[in-house]
Each structure stands twice: as C-alpha cells, then as structure tokens.
Symmetry: C2
Subunit: 195 residues, 2 copies
DNA sequence: ACACAACCGGAATCCGAGATTCCACTTAAC
DNA sequence: GTTAAGTGGAATCTCGGATTCCGGTTGTGT
C-alpha cells in the first residue's frame, strides 16, 4: 500500500467518526468523503460498503473509550470521583459522541468483529468494577448499575439534532444532575445559573 | 361541513399526534393517513401542507399538557409531590410523547398560532410557580429551574428511535433518577432491579 | 325514494436525496 | 522514466415519500 493511501485511510476513519457522531450511522457517504478531503471513489475503494466503514469506526471508538476509562480509574481519587471524571470527559464539548449512533447498530455489523467485541466487553467490565467499588465505598446508591450509567451517557452525548438544543448545549449540566441522582448522599451544586 | 368529514378531521389530528410522537415532525404523510384510517387525499384536503397539520397537533398537545398539570397541581400533596405526579404522568407508557418532536419545530410554524403560544406560556408559568413552591418548601434544590425540568422531560419522553432501547423501554426509571438529582435531600429507591 | 354536492380512497406521477459506478487523470515508488 | 497504485468527482441509478387527480361513495335536504 502506498504511503498516501495509508494516510487517506486514516483520514477517512477519523472523518467518519466525526460525521457519524453528528449525523448517525446513516449519514451520507459523500459527507464523510468531503470531511476527509477525499473523493467518494476513494472512500468506496477502501470500504466497499457502509458496514465495513462503520465497523472500523466502532473499533476506533471503543479504544478511545477504554483508554479514557483507564486514565480516570488510574487517578488517585475515590471510585466515585473516577466515575465523575470519566463521565465529564465523555461529555466534554467537541468530543465525538458516537455512542448513540453506534448503539442502534444492528448486531450483524459487529458480528465477527472480535476485536471490537473484546475491547468493549473489557471496557464494560472495568466500568462495572468501578461502579461496584463506588457502591462499596457508600458513595453510590446500590439500586443503579453500570448499564444505567452507560445508557445515560449515551443519551446525553448523542448529537445535537436528537436533543433539545439547551440540553445539547450543556450536556454536562444534565449529566451532573443525573449523577447527583445516583449518589447516596446530598446533591452537589451545578455549573450553570439554574434556569 | 358534513358530519363524517368532521369526524375524520378529529381522527386525523389524533393519528398525527401519535405518528409525530413516534417518528418525528417529518413522518410520512401516508402513515398518518393510514393510522387515521383515511386516504391521503382526505388528509391533504383538510391540511393543505404539513405545517398546518403540525400546528393542529401542537394545539392539541399543549392543551393536554396544561390539563394534566392542572390536575397534578390540584392534588392535595406538596408542590414536590405534584411535580412528581405530573412527571410520571407524562412518562406513562403509551402516552404520546410529542415534546421532542415539537421542540425541534422551526419557529415559523407556530408564529401566528396565538392559541398555541398562549396556552403554552401559561402552562410554563404554572409549572414554574409549582417549582418555586417546591423550592420554598425546601424539597427541591434551588439551582435548577422549570426549564431544566422541561428539557429533561423532553429528552426522556422522546420516541424510542431516538433513544437507546433500554431508556425508551423505561423512561420512568430515568426520570425518577433525575428527580432524585433535583431533591435537596436523599435519593428514593428506583422501580427496577438496577442493572 | 331521489338528486346532488360534499367526500372519499388510493393509484399514478413527480421529485430530490443519496448510493454506487466508472474512467481519465495523478503521483509515489523503484 | 515507467508504471501500477491511487485519485476525484461527474454521471447514473434507486427509492422513499410528497402531491395530485378523479371515478366511485355517501350524507343530506326535499
């Protein structure tokens, strides 16, 4: 493979990640090509069909998440703090919000994608461990689980188009509210002014 | 206007409300017609364009909300209880969840719709009063407002397609979590098993 | 019961967004 | 300098959905 071809491949996956985050799994291929600065032809040569491309995006995404979770967990604070850190990392503005997009993926797309499945599973496990740790600490209420956390993350990080504008503009505020709902103790103050 | 025509008109608005809740403001007209049990022709005769129809749906919707809020507020409990009641009413399964759909409406559609604007404004005001009352009671934290409540309601009641399946399946769970995040006191137990 | 205007349903037609193909033109690599 | 890999994007094909139109119905007044 020629050097420039490899370079383009990278640009395409990156662009696809952005566009998918913005417009969902069915975003026009042409948009992706444009964002990547290549022609549609190039896109199709590299990824014969949409699924292949999406799968590549999935791989990329799940790795990013795993790394971020690792970082958060490695911090010195409590498990709860780690969770809070990770959540706000995910909710940071400008961060590609692929979760929702990928969440609706039909299973077929990821079948045989062992790499993706492997990384994701281990990510969930690690996240789950963190949650249990936080619950053991007594800082998180016991009647919620990782799944709840993941779902909420998914909801609040999905693209602006899907969300009421004010929520999209400040997902962190609402995520924080939700986290407060998950503590066993008192609420912490929010960022904004409060309506 | 003939009696059957009037009857159809009602069926159409009702069907439109359902479909819009399910598929958003841009749902195929044909679906609406089918749901209403009429032909597309009939639909177009009554509502020359999509906007007219959507506006009608908006009127209908805002009235429903206003009534529900009244009922909740009229109850004997605390303001906070009233809020909780109203929120769960909105989140009840099967309830048409139009808010998100209508939220993305371009302003033009509702301009000149004085009826809609009037009812909505008064709804918001009443809701706001309730919130302030709850805050005065000390049961609701002071750094959130009606708008937050409305936004969150919007998020969790929007159509399944827009939401991760688990959230769509049990919006009440998440709504409850969010309400807990809004109390000044401790968290209350959730319905489900917890992940 | 009759006449007729208001109504109906839905087939037929029209339209635009986006997928996919194809090939003349570039350019990295040796 | 040669050439095979790589490129962009116009042209074509598809399909979902909007909108129109009209022959057939059905309330309604007499």
């Amino acid at each position: 493979m020629r050097a420039d071809a490899r370079r383009n491949l990278g640009k395409i996956v990156e662009a696809a990640a952005e566009i998918v985050a913005e417009r969902g799994v069915n975003a026009p291929m042409e948009l992706i090509a444009k964002r990547a600065g290549v022609g549609v032809g190039t896109l199709y040569r590299r990824f014969p069909d949409r699924d292949t491309l999406i799968a590549a995006v999935g791989d990329h995404y799940v790795h990013t998440m795993a790394d971020a979770l690792n970082d958060a967990a490695a911090g010195s604070g409590s498990a709860w703090d780690a969770i809070r850190d990770f959540v706000s990392w995910v909710a940071a503005p400008g961060r590609a919000a692929l979760s929702t997009a990928l969440a609706v993926l039909p299973e077929e797309v990821l079948v045989n994608r062992t790499e993706f499945a492997r990384v994701r599973t281990s990510w969930v496990e690690q996240f789950d461990a963190l949650v249990r740790r936080a619950q053991a600490e007594g800082s998180m209420r016991p009647d919620v689980g990782v799944e709840d956390l993941i779902h909420l993350l998914t909801v609040f990080t999905c693209h602006p188009d899907q969300l009421p504008a004010p929520v999209a503009a400040d997902p962190g505020r609402y995520l924080s509210l939700m986290l407060d709902g998950m503590t066993s103790g008192a609420a912490t103050p929010l960022d904004g002014s409060g309506a």
